[in-house]
Symmetry: C2
Amino acid sequence: MSKHRIRLKDIAEKLGITVTTVSKALKDYPDISNETKKEVKRLAEELNYQPNSQALALRSNRSYTIGLIIPEIVHFFFSNVIKGIMNYAEQNNYRVLITLSNNSMNLEKKQANLLFNTKVDGVLVSLANETDTTKHFDMFKEFEIPIVMFDKVNEDFKCNKVTIDDKQGGFTATEHLINQGCKRIAHIGGPKNPLNSVNRFEGYKKALHKYGLDFDPTLVKECVDVTLEEGHTFANQLLQQENPPTGIFTITDQVGVGVLHAANDLRIKVPEQLKIVGFSDSQIAQISQPPLSTIHQPGYEIGEMAAKLLIEEIELQDGGYEQPMDFRQIILDTYLIKRETS
Amino acid sequence: MSKHRIRLKDIAEKLGITVTTVSKALKDYPDISNETKKEVKRLAEELNYQPNSQALALRSNRSYTIGLIIPEIVHFFFSNVIKGIMNYAEQNNYRVLITLSNNSMNLEKKQANLLFNTKVDGVLVSLANETDTTKHFDMFKEFEIPIVMFDKVNEDFKCNKVTIDDKQGGFTATEHLINQGCKRIAHIGGPKNPLNSVNRFEGYKKALHKYGLDFDPTLVKECVDVTLEEGHTFANQLLQQENPPTGIFTITDQVGVGVLHAANDLRIKVPEQLKIVGFSDSQIAQISQPPLSTIHQPGYEIGEMAAKLLIEEIELQDGGYEQPMDFRQIILDTYLIKRETS
DNA sequence: CTGAAAGCGCTTACAG
DNA sequence: CTGAAAGCGCTTACAG
């Protein structure tokens, strides 16, 4: 037989008082004698009493649990985000229930339902690449369950959001290549659906324009899976065309390393003949040889901030706040990390 | 005002029957008329009724939630493990509550308490490197909450375990270097505490012994933090000694890539003059140039298997099984991935 | 100062 | 075939 957990009842019986009194004593109600409080607390301590969290949740309609839906976990950026979320949540006594969408909208829907039924106090979500509607999140709004979107967000959904300025990041990367003397700069970008790719591309074009360089569509490639292999393939094409680029800005570090490999194959010297800037500052950017210049994307801080906004909203609401909320979009700074490919 | 969730009571009122009947109808009790069942189910469907999971948990003492304590999340191997756990758990309708020990025993204790108080149905843990006692897990055994350890396990704690055969892995790596013609083989290992390092080192010695090569302590280095930088530094020392090694087996891929960098600096050709084998098959092993030979460590499968053992134990116990359990240790296979450094 | 009662949303043994 | 009652572990308005 397993022992059972200590309940208020156990303490009450040992002390010959009622459960009501024990409960109030532990919560320092003013109408309980100091004598009783002392005894109760002593015994609770001795027996290592811990309130039953399910009973608490049932009664108070609060679970101190937040739900997370993330597109992918084996991923440097997202695992940093998760770490930021977990640390912040933990410091504020929230637990985190984590679910995966695997970048599938269907799975994302399923996970949203699961979290809804689990009665989490709030939801943190980064949308799947596939996701093109947010209907499956409407129920959270209807039931006033706070929701915060981060990184991959939907423009039309009304809620707090935490992102980086992808356009600014793309601009910075491209401007840096220009400053390093590149005149023909290519971009290997991502698919149109997650907004991030589009914005990075916009930043690229903005920098070209600002510095009076022509935009040349033959210097732009669009990845489907955003892999190292695609970077390799597209770089091969770009570098073997008639008037090859001398700088390439890539949508991710993965793709950037693919470019590096292609340059190696073709005996093109980096950074002398070709300069490369990636995006994300993931581990592989540090480890590649030569180490890849990149745009730092503050994953940990995004996670922290998203958790912070969510928990603030939960607690505001719990305090009975009824005004319609003014939703904010927090945009965190990126910055260039110059390493040896530029 | 937020809507409230549909309860049995709401269905009962609309149908003019009692909560009891609704509950039984939904669960297909044989003593309810088909007529009633049909109506109840129809309405439940229409209103999208979902039972309150907290109430269920309170009543049944089952939360369908498993807790996870993991040393680190920004980590290729562990994030694969987590993914395996999550996918398996989800397929079996369990949720996963994830916590981080940051490789600190104190934090691990705190997380264990948290999970205990949250009343998870079972616990999955990979020990912090620091951890040298398992007293903080005894409460789970006392209360018959199943616990499964994986990867970093404690030999003395009685529970199901899932690991790889680190000794075999170390043996395979070293044997491969021998087969590739290396006569002097160095090992850059890890600290003594996580058993894994010790075992990989044992495997290394076993291979040397089997093939009649002398064990030379000057060819063995011990990392503290197991970083790329340490690999770099130790390789520098090894490669500049009088009689340098022609093969190096490293405790991780990180360290292996550090060795690669050192060889580059010293203009030592890999694999011609120096062969390197890492361990883990992490992403950086694929991406380094040349790509690193390594031992594949099946993270995803470890996670799946650990979740499987845990959930089986939970359900066995829930079925009222009272025999003392025969605990198993599942050892998953590793295998060599030969790439271009050997 | 203490305690009896009701209630959070369920399930199930028991009565009719 | 249906329902009243008790109970899971708590909290809190109310009575004494």
